[in-house]
Symmetry: C2
Subunit: 297 residues, 2 copies
């Protein structure tokens, strides 16, 4: 359990994952574009580095928890990128939500450098990341899993192993995002119709959450609407991005996704109207002619 492990990106998810690894006994090396975030983590145990290349020299396992594919490219191949500094046989664990075809290509690109790769998007939110109870949707070569060892279980309550090559992990992740995005937009549409029709919003919430029309997202996000609280736990612009990835993936094989396309338009409408950085439940603000519950703060 003296293995060195690197975590790049100390946002809401990455910081919790690094904490979980430290709690499990790993020596955790960290870096972040905000140097102070890395130093704050190291002050409680672990090693802060100035950039991915410095971190990668010490770690046979590097976990990347940045926002998207572009940031992952920067982490690996930008100035002071990790790829050139990683020892042969080391493994790069990619936890972002990305186009699956990009992830498949990345496995090949790293393979040509003698590096292992794990396609490992995550789900569950910051609280579950901090408690080591999040979910990982993973796929990759058996050698990559072998190299990572118990580290995945230290970070996640549930590690789905979905195949022996990159792609399946990211595919399942974006399909989850397809459903999550459509369900948030549908919850907003349903609640908006209820308000339009003069139904008591709290009664509607009570009935739906105990009926066949319920979804995880209706139950979670419409509580924000009832409270009039659009503090972003996950923002409208995240679904502009993620439903965009879903549509890009399907477009690559000319596959139609009518509901995803419609929901994507709704999130873009909300974003352009100025709600991009609000909670994703603010997609309900695209509906005219209704009065939303006021904040009770």
């Amino acid at each position: 359990m003296s293995q060195n492990i690197g975590v790049i990106g100390l946002g809401a998810m990455g910081r919790g994952m690094a904490q979980s690894l430290r709690r499990a006994g790993y020596t955790v090396h960290v870096c972040d574009v905000r140097l102070e975030a890395a130093q704050a983590f190291a002050a409680e145990g672990g090693v802060a580095h100035a950039h991915p290349a410095a971190l990668a020299q010490h770690c046979e396992v590097v976990v990347s928890v940045v926002v998207n594919a572009a940031q992952t490219e920067e982490v690996l191949f930008g100035p002071h990128g990790a790829a050139a500094a990683m020892a042969a046989g080391s493994v790069f664990v990619m936890c972002s939500t990305v186009d699956p075809n990009w992830s498949i290509a990345l496995e090949q690109r790293l393979g040509s450098l003698g590096l292992q790769y794990l396609d490992a998007p995550i789900s569950g939110g910051s609280a579950k990341a901090a408690s080591g109870e999040m979910t990982m949707m993973t796929s990759g070569r058996p050698e990559a899993y072998a190299k990572v060892g118990q580290a995945l279980d230290a970070m996640a309550a549930k590690v789905y192993q979905l195949g022996d090559a990159a792609g399946a992990g990211s595919k399942v992740k974006i399909i989850n995002q397809l459903l999550a995005g459509v369900h948030i937009a549908a919850a907003a549409e349903a609640m908006a119709l209820g308000l339009r029709e003069g139904v008591a919003a709290d009664a509607l919430y009570e009935v739906i959450t105990h009926s066949a029309g319920n979804s995880w997202m209706f139950e979670n996000r419409m509580a924000h609407v009832l409270a009039g609280d659009y503090t972003p736990l996950s923002a409208v612009d995240i679904f502009v991005k993620d439903l965009g990835l879903v549509l890009d993936t399907a477009r690559a094989t000319k596959f139609p996704l009518p509901l995803s396309a419609t929901a994507h338009q709704m999130f873009m409408q909300a974003s352009t109207a100025g709600h991009g950085r609000e909670d994703d439940s603010a997609v309900i603000k695209i509906f005219p002619g209704i009065t939303l519950p006021a904040s009770n703060k």
Copy 2:
């Protein structure tokens, strides 16, 4: 508990509801356009009648469990209809899924005849109807609730009382149907993308049902797709009808419902392609370029 109660319509739901009332000690009067259905019920206890008017002479509470508003009109005002035969002060309990504005008008029409009315759509499926564990979404005047007494609780595990006039019950019911319909279509779209991308369907089901992308309908209906079993528990054409009611209701105040409109198109596409009487999960058959799991029967 010697109260006479009438149940009109002995389909999958009505038969179970009549059984629940009989089990609770009511004398249950029944009729159905299929006379043999009423006679079969009466053979185990209760009284069969040839038509609604004959039934209505014996019952101060008449529960209507027919398919739609048109059939309800026939039950009440057609040849041998119940309305003219019901005693003043009797209550008509309307359990169909209908346009809320039609239900609001019906309360007025029956009121002008001296009859009480309860707007009382139901949810939960035939098994829960038979065991008295279904859900009722009700609204109506206090006098109507008083007249019905304990009968609602005999039929349903949960009786939501949503307002003191007709309309709220039907509004909440169609909003539930909005979500149910969009969620079935979204589940089909997500599963179709997974199949298109070569993801193992059973693994996808396992991950989604334990993730934030889950819905009651994904969990229930995609099990039918995995089993290749499109035996209709609820048919594609039910959602052609119910999402149509949702859109009609919103159109009455010019209110936009982009996801409902898209899902409605998907169900109509499935119906016109010949799948209207299959299980509603057969909406997945509109997606080209994929191979669905075969039946394992």
